[in-house]
C-alpha cells in the first residue's frame, strides 16, 4: 500500500474504490467469534470452493464480516443487495443457497419463520428481531470485512477524519459536546466535556488517549463485536479524538481473552500505518498520532480507569484515589483521556452526520443509540442496538421475542456484576442512564440478562458476589472482606442456614461497603444484593423462614420427585449419575432421596414433565 500524502489523495482513493465496485450479488457470512464457534468457518470454506468450482467468482462476491448481532441464529448468511437472511445455515444448505443466488432466487424453506404467523420472512430488516432496532453502529459490521481497509474506506470510512482535519480542534469538541454523547462505559459522563478538559491541559509533556476494551462483565460482549467487526471505526474515532484534544499517543487496552479482536486490531493498525493514517504527519496536515495495543491479563478491576492506567504502565492493576483525575494526572503522570470502545465508535458517526442529526435519536439527556447484549431466558439472544429511552418491555418482548420456555419472565439484570435486577413490574422503564440508576441498577457497558421464574434471585446475587470477591483487587479492606462476608451470608441463605438477623446484617454491610470503598468496583459491588433485596425480599424470606427455594435452584432446599405423568420409559434410570432412580418398565419410577445428588439431569431429559421440584 502506498502512503497517502494529502487529504486529496484519500479522497481520490475513495472515489477510485467506489468506482470499481462490481454490481453483483454478495454473500455475506458473519464470522465473529460467535459465528465461528457455530460453524461459520466451514461455510466460508465451502463457499470459496463452490464459487471456484462452479466458476461463479465473477458473478457472486463473498464478504466475510464480523457479527451481525443475531447470535441465536448463527451461523447466518445474508445475501446483498436483496437483503435475504438465512438463519442457522448448514454446509449442505450453503451449497443450495449459492445456487439460488446464482439464479437470483430465494429458498423459502430455509428462511426464518415467524413463530406467530408461521410464515417465512425473507428480508433481514423485516425480522422481528431487527425491526425495532436502530442499528447505526452494528449495521456497519455487515458492510465491512474487518481485515480490509478498502472495504471501510468504500463505506465512507475515514471521511469523518477528513471533515475533522478540515475544521479546527475546537469545532470538533463543540460538535461532540452538542451531540450530547455520554460515555458508553457505564457512568455516562458527557464525552465532549471530558475532551474539552483534556484539550485545556497544558501540552508541554504530551497527552494520552485510551480506548478501554477491557470488557469483563459476565454475559456482555458488545465491545468485542465492534472490535472484531469494525476495528477501523475505533481507530478513526481515536484519530479524531487525538486531533481535537492534542494528544499524540493512544492506547487500546484490550483483554487477552479476545484473540480475534486482537488479530483484527493488529491488522487494522498495520494497514492504517501503511496508508499513512497513523504515524507522523498524517495526510500531510502535520498532525501526528499513533496507537499502541496493550493486552490486559484478564483482571476485571482493570476496566476501572485508574487501575487500567497502572496496568498500562506495567504495574499491578489497582485503582487509586480520584482526584487527581486521569485528565489531570494519568499514565506516567501525563494528562490522559479514557473512553469506552462504543464511545469511540460513535465519534465518526457524529462528525460525519453532524451533531444535530445524531442528537435526534434517543431522548433529551441521552442522545444516540446503545448496544445491549440481550442474553438469558429470551427466545432470541444477541446484540441489539436501540435508541436510548426505549422501554425494557420492547427490548425483551418485541426484539427478544419473550420467554424462551413456558416459565414467565421475572426480571432483567443490567450492568453486569455492578448492576442490579429490575423486576417485571418496572419493565415500562425507559432505558437511559438516569432511570436505571433511579431503579437501583446501572446502565453499565450494556449487559442485559433476562431471568424467568426458574431463576432464584438469591442464587443470582450469590453468583455475582462470588465473581466480585474473586475480582476485587483486594486493596480496600471493606471491598475485599465485605464481598467475602456478603458471599458467606448469601451462601448461608441459599443453604437454609441463615436467620432474619443475618439478612439485616447483610443489608447493613452492603450499605457500608457501598459507602466506604474507593473505586467504582467496590462502590457498586453491593448492587446485586441491594437491588434483589429491594424487589425480591420475599424470596429471601422464603429461603430463611420456610427453608424453600421458590425457583427450585438452591440445591440444599429442594427435592426432586416423580409424579403420575411418568410413563416408565426408563430414560431417567439410564441417565441418573448416582443410580438414585428405581422402577419397573411402564410403571411409575421413584427417586431415592438418600442417593439423589440433585443434579437435575432427570428433570431436563424427561419427555413427559414427570420430574418435579419441591
Amino acid at each position: 500500500m502506498e502512503r497517502l500524502k494529502s487529504i486529496a489523495d484519500l479522497r481520490s482513493m475513495q472515489s477510485l474504490i467506489v468506482g470499481s465496485k462490481k454490481n453483483v450479488p454478495t454473500i455475506v457470512i458473519s464470522a465473529g467469534t460467535c459465528g465461528q464457534a457455530s460453524g461459520a468457518n466451514d461455510l466460508i470454506r465451502i463457499t470459496k470452493r463452490e464459487l471456484l468450482a462452479k466458476n461463479l467468482t465473477d458473478r457472486i462476491q463473498l464478504r466475510i464480516t464480523g457479527c451481525h448481532g443475531f447470535c441465536e441464529m448463527e451461523p447466518s448468511v445474508l445475501i446483498e443487495p436483496r437483503g435475504t437472511f438465512y438463519p442457522k445455515v448448514g454446509m449442505k444448505e450453503m451449497v443450495e443457497i449459492i445456487d439460488a443466488v446464482a439464479r437470483d432466487q430465494v429458498i423459502e424453506n430455509l428462511l426464518f419463520v415467524d413463530p406467530e404467523t408461521e410464515r417465512p420472512i425473507e428480508k433481514m430488516a423485516e425480522l422481528p428481531f431487527y425491526k425495532k432496532q436502530v442499528r447505526t453502529l452494528l449495521s456497519r459490521n455487515e458492510k465491512v470485512d474487518p481485515i480490509r481497509i478498502y472495504d471501510y474506506i468504500e463505506n465512507q470510512g475515514y471521511s469523518a477524519l477528513i471533515k475533522a482535519l478540515e475544521n479546527t480542534p475546537k469545532w470538533v469538541i463543540n460538535e461532540v459536546i452538542s451531540s450530547g454523547l455520554r460515555g458508553r462505559g457505564g457512568a455516562g459522563f458527557p464525552t465532549g466535556i471530558k475532551w474539552q478538559m483534556l484539550a485545556e491541559q497544558p501540552n508541554g509533556r504530551g497527552k494520552f488517549i485510551v480506548c478501554n476494551a477491557d470488557e469483563g462483565d459476565p454475559g456482555a460482549y458488545m465491545d468485542r463485536s465492534l472490535l472484531e467487526g469494525n476495528p477501523h471505526s475505533i481507530i478513526e474515532g481515536m484519530l479524531i479524538g487525538a486531533y481535537a484534544t492534542g494528544a499524540n499517543e493512544g492506547f487500546i487496552y484490550v483483554r487477552n481473552e479476545y484473540p480475534l479482536a486482537i488479530k483484527h486490531l493488529v491488522i487494522a493498525l498495520r494497514q492504517a500505518r501503511e496508508l499513512g493514517l497513523l504515524g507522523k504527519d498524517i495526510l500531510g496536515t502535520g498532525f501526528s498520532f499513533d496507537i499502541h495495543l496493550v493486552r490486559g491479563a484478564g483482571a476485571f478491576v482493570c476496566g476501572e480507569e485508574t487501575a487500567l492506567m497502572k496496568s498500562i504502565e506495567g504495574k499491578v492493576g489497582e485503582p487509586r484515589q480520584r482526584p487527581p483525575y486521569p485528565v489531570q494526572k494519568g499514565i506516567y503522570g501525563k494528562p490522559t483521556l479514557i473512553n469506552n470502545v462504543e464511545t469511540w465508535a460513535n465519534i465518526p458517526e457524529i462528525i460525519s452526520k453532524g451533531a444535530k442529526e445524531f442528537a435526534k435519536v434517543g431522548t433529551k439527556n441521552n442522545a444516540g443509540t446503545k448496544i445491549f447484549s440481550l442474553v438469558g431466558k429470551v427466545k432470541w439472544t444477541g446484540l441489539v442496538e436501540v435508541p436510548m429511552g426505549m422501554r425494557i418491555n420492547e427490548i425483551v418482548y418485541d426484539i427478544g421475542g419473550g420467554p424462551r420456555g413456558k416459565a414467565e419472565i421475572k426480571a432483567v439484570q443490567t450492568g453486569g456484576p455492578s448492576g442490579g435486577c429490575i423486576p417485571k413490574e418496572r419493565f415500562d422503564l425507559p432505558i437511559d442512564y438516569d432511570s436505571l440508576t433511579e431503579a437501583g441498577s446501572i446502565m453499565g457497558s450494556g449487559g442485559m440478562i433476562v431471568m424467568d421464574e426458574n431463576t432464584c434471585m438469591v442464587d443470582v446475587a450469590k453468583y455475582f458476589m462470588n465473581f466480585l470477591k474473586d475480582e476485587s483487587c483486594g486493596k480496600c479492606f471493606t471491598c475485599r472482606k465485605g464481598t467475602q462476608r456478603m458471599y458467606e451470608i448469601l451462601d448461608d441463605i441459599s443453604k437454609g442456614k441463615a436467620t432474619l438477623a443475618e439478612l439485616e446484617l447483610l443489608e447493613e454491610l452492603a450499605e457500608v461497603v457501598k459507602d466506604t470503598t474507593m473505586c467504582g468496583l467496590g462502590q457498586t459491588a453491593p448492587n446485586p444484593v441491594l437491588s434483589t433485596l429491594r424487589y425480591f425480599r420475599d424470596e429471601y424470606r422464603e429461603h430463611i423462614n420456610n427453608k424453600k427455594c421458590p425457583a427450585g435452584v438452591c440445591k440444599e432446599l429442594i427435592t426432586y420427585a416423580i409424579n403420575e405423568n411418568c410413563t416408565g420409559c426408563g430414560l431417567c434410570i439410564k441417565n441418573c449419575p448416582s443410580g438414585a432412580i428405581t422402577g419397573k418398565k411402564r410403571e411409575r419410577h421413584f427417586i431415592d432421596q438418600t442417593k439423589c445428588i440433585k443434579c437435575g439431569v432427570c428433570r431436563s431429559i424427561c419427555k413427559f414433565d414427570a420430574v418435579v421440584v419441591k
Binding site: 484515589q321 483486594g474 471493606t478 466506604t516 474507593m518
Partner: protein, 237 residues
Amino acid sequence: MINLYINGLKVTVEEGTTLLEAARFLGFPIPTLCYLDGLKPYGACRLCVVEIGEGEKSRLVSSCTYPVEEGLKVRTASSRVIKARKMVLELLLASCPQSKTIQDLASAYGVKQQRFKQEFEDCILCGLCVRMCEEQMMAKAIGFRGRGENRTVGTPFDIRSEECRLCGGCIYVCPTCQLRCTYTEPEKAICGSCANLSPPCLEKEKFDDMMCYMAPCVACEIKKDDERNKSSIEKGG
C-alpha cells in the same frame, strides 16, 4: 492556602495537605490503621473515612488520601461516618480478633461484638510493611501478590529475598502481629512478611554486638540454653 470547613469550623491549611493531616492538626481525632507518618498514604483500611460535600451529593472518602479542596465541607464524625467505622471495626474484629490495636479501636467506638463467622487471619493487608520496606528501608523485599481473597504479602516465590537485610522494619510497623512473633516456626507466621526471615542470632556466629529487632522472640536465650545444656552433658559424660 486553601480554605475549607471541618465540622463547621472554617480553617485555612496549606495546599497539598490531606484531609487527615488537616483534621488531626486541628485536633479532630480520626482513627487509622494503614496510615503512618513518614509513609505514603495508601487508603486501604477505610477507617479514616470522612463525609464530604452536602445533601444528596455527600459521600465518604478516605481522609488519608484525599487532598484538601477550596470550600470543601468535611464532617469527621457524622452519624454516617460512625456507622461505617463501626462496621469496618466489626469486620476487622471478625478477621483478626487478637490484635491489641484493633481491640482498642473497637472498644473506643463501642463495638462490643461482631456478628460474622469468626476467623483468625491476623493480616489485614494494610500494606504498612510493604511501604516501610520500600520507602524507608529502600529494599522492596516484600510486596502484594494475588487479588481479591487470594491477596497476600510476601517475598517473590516465597523464598528469602536477597533484597531483605533483616532490618525488621516490617515487623515493627505491623498493627496486628507486633506482639506475636512466632520465632522459628515460620509456617505459623502471621503476615507472611517475616515468614522468610530467621532471627539474626541464629544466623550469626557471634551476635553480641548486634541490635535485635525481634524483641520478644528469645531465640538467642534458647540457643544459649541449648549450648549450656550441651556443654553440661559433655562435662557430665
